[in-house]
Amino acid sequence: MSVPAFAELLEGLVFSPGRNAKIALMRQWFATQGDPDRGIGLAALAGELVFRTAKPAMMRELIAERTDPALFAISYDYVGDLAETIALMWPADVRSNRPPLSLTEVVETLETAPKTALPQIIAGWLDALDPGSRLALIKLVTGGLRVGASARLAKTALADWAKVDVGEIEEVWHGVAPPYRPLFAWLEGQGLRPDPRGLPVFRPLMLAHPLEEKDFAVLHAPDWRAEWKWDGIRVQLTAGPGGARIWSRSGEDVSGAFPDILAAMTFHGVADGELLVVRDGEVAPFSDLQQRLNRKVVTQKMLRDHPAAVRLYDLLFDGEEDLRALPFDIRRARLEAWFARERPERMDLSPLIPFASMEELAEIRAGARAASIEGLMLKRGDSIYSPGRIKGPWWKWKRNPLSVDAVLMYAQRGHGKRSSFYSDYTFGLWRAQGDDMELVPIGKAYSGYTDEELLWLDKWIRNHTTNRFGPVREVERGLVLEVEFDAAQYSNRHKSGVALRFPRIARIRRDKPAEEADRLETLVALIAGSPAAAAG
């Protein structure tokens, strides 16, 4: 595969907002490219191809030798991106008629060429490419490649192309490396399944369906086990002689952000649990955990002020022994025995909640007010650990949502299929301002409404716009929306001082005048642990 073909793929991914379109583009890629190029492309898509061989300063020097400084300055000012300005201004060498540069040649050269030879080599490549390919190449060699698709989506596309379950790919993924020849050979039926033995690999997680009333009605209490549903991040801990990893729900390696947890993973096995920030045995709000996510560098202060912990609820492997085909009750017993034996630091067990009847369980759920608890998890005692979201064996039974009546303030266009609709809504509540009342924004939602409601909202917004800021419209303060959310928390990043968890539009309150929408105090009273909540 050539660099121009790769550049076209990247361009397509960056410009296509839709998941299906991205999958189609990548599937086409796997179907039409040969080894080893398609594997190198896959590595780039999965974020595993990162070079920092060329510094932006080197690229600047190369372009300075070839362009007038004044023209470069005017152009850079207009384009705004250094790599793109260079790619577009680079004088093409029309005499060059060499065969299209292959991605493999680029990767192999970058790995082997002496540093001093790089400027000349890169310049030679740029001479022979079109502007779009030059941009892809510059981004690649300077480590600034933005793919416009997640690693998970790349694997999904690969599975889609090979007609296997994406879980199959996840299970072997961390045991193979670019350019993934054994992986492609296996997917094409020309080789054995790559054996990840020993290496830490991600095992696709078992997920739960939301419990609805009709499902609840048929549940027979003795069949079920209950746990709290913790408001953290689902993780899989994998450790053994081959190393230790912390995987996110989608199989992303998040070990780097949690060195404190990683250090505690001295065991051999695979465990499933909830990542939380815990201080003195108390689970901190989700926003505290957010501080720890996506950090390249974790400071000592961060480790001290936001200590992470994992609340364990399942054991998939004990040593090399695969427990996933065993029923939940047996796995739970194995988990408890394993935990008693290993005693890993920074970890505890998610307790089972005893209950005699479903009615009793409903009361327990209704009584749970702690912010760290989203509701209940129900697991069948005889359920094996099957990856994916299968309806029946596991249910998540969230707490009844909280709600306020808020006033629509701003609307923004959506993306992809919704790009012609004003589908993202910012809403606010009233607050006293001297003798007057003012609206303060409390959050943003882009779900919960039906297609008909979206059409109606879109029309209302277009007819009641008072101001436009690019894709955003400010509207008359005249429409009340009933906003549902799972929890409210204090936040110093919001003007209102409050942040909502999972806000969504529950209803359009056409009947309600805007002046009668809720006040900010009403929302503050809903914050767990707030003085107002205690008083109420």
Binding site: S75, Y78, G80
Partner: protein, 340 residues
């Protein structure tokens, strides 16, 4: 010694004015006598008394303007035909921009100026190709006068579009393009690439396409995309004004894939505005190398820049020993709508 063109061609509030001839070129406000380079609305304004242009440009103006607004009297002039106006020799050369587009060539006492209007140097199946006319002063546009603008061959962009249509056969590709010139050129390029399916058009594009057909440009079968039949046009390539591709009109199409055909698509950030999913770099203007080579080929000692990015162009011309001058003509290329 012939007089320098600046002594007889000057900038007035209405635009460029030829004093001895007593006429304006592409005036921005109603005047007595106007010579019009082409039909885009920033060049052809309504309300002039007497209008001189190619027959095609006059037809475009009549089609687009309210009755009586396209000039009280209209005088067509063929390419190459010479007219004498108060001692000024006047003739038109094709500018290769859109159907009927012309460079206005003027000669007064042995001194010659060419006002090129908007132009491009690439082949275009819907209009006559640009013809070079040497002169003392060349008046040029500068829409894409930055070294970052290199338009790729239009055929490659069409091939990219057709690859996308093959990859997403169930979706409707909606291409945003301007009603005059770009729409017809796209259709003709699609036909050349072998796309012979009927091409559905947004209502705003239909009249000018019909006019092109009446003037002898073959565009194949065109159908209205405004039908009440709620047809979804899966797998079709549909053309619409740029402002409509992400709008309510496009909703009933089959999972529409918004494309935009414009020279601005060369720059990513420009392309990403407005939700474009497939940017097509197809322009009816000269790109940077073409602007520079044209200014050199006309052998003019001086180049005047009407509108666009004159700073870069004047700097680059200076390095080539050509004197540049920015005219700062108000109203040209500002609307965006006809800008490209």
């Amino acid at each position: 010694m012939p007089p320098h063109p600046k002594t007889w061609l000057c900038v007035t509030p209405a635009g460029l004015f030829c004093e001895p001839g007593g006429f304006h070129i592409d005036p921005q406000r109603p005047v007595d006598r106007a010579v019009i380079t082409h039909g885009h609305s920033d060049h052809a304004r309504p309300g002039h008394e007497r209008v001189l242009a190619t027959a095609e440009t006059l037809a475009v103006m009549r089609e687009r303007m309210a009755p009586g607004q396209a000039g009280q009297s209209q005088q067509p002039l063929r390419y190459g035909e010479v007219l004498h106006v108060n001692g000024v020799r006047l003739w038109l050369r094709p500018a290769g921009h859109v159907l009927g587009s012309a460079q206005v060539c003027l000669e007064w006492q042995g001194s010659r100026a060419v006002i090129s209007g908007d132009y491009k140097r690439r082949p275009d199946p819907t209009c006559a190709p640009f013809e070079l006319e040497c002169c003392d002063v060349f008046v040029t546009e500068a829409t894409f006068a930055l070294p970052v603008f290199h338009h790729p061959p239009a055929e490659l962009e069409i091939a990219r579009l057709l690859r996308s249509v093959r990859l997403f056969p169930e979706r409707t590709h909606v291409i945003g393009c301007y009603a005059l010139g770009k729409a017809q050129r796209l259709i003709a390029l699609l036909r050349q690439a072998g796309w012979d399916a009927p091409i559905p058009l947004h209502g705003a594009l239909m009249r000018l396409c019909r006019l092109y057909q009446e003037l002898g440009v073959d565009l194949g079968e065109l159908v209205p995309a405004t039908v009440q039949g709620r047809e979804r046009f899966a797998g079709a390539i549909v053309l619409a004004p740029p402002s409509e591709i992400g709008e309510r009109w496009a909703r009933r199409l089959s999972d529409p894939l918004p494309c935009l055909a414009s020279g601005w698509m060369r720059v990513r950030q420009r392309a990403r505005q407005g939700g474009v999913e497939l940017p097509l770099i197809i322009s009816d203007h000269a790109d940077w190398p073409e602007l520079l080579s044209t200014c050199a080929e006309v052998e003019a000692g001086e180049v005047w820049v009407t509108h666009g990015r004159e700073d870069a162009l004047i700097h680059a011309l200076g390095m080539r020993g050509i004197k540049g001058r920015a005219l700062h003509l108000v109203g040209m290329g500002e609307e965006g709508e006809e800008d490209e």
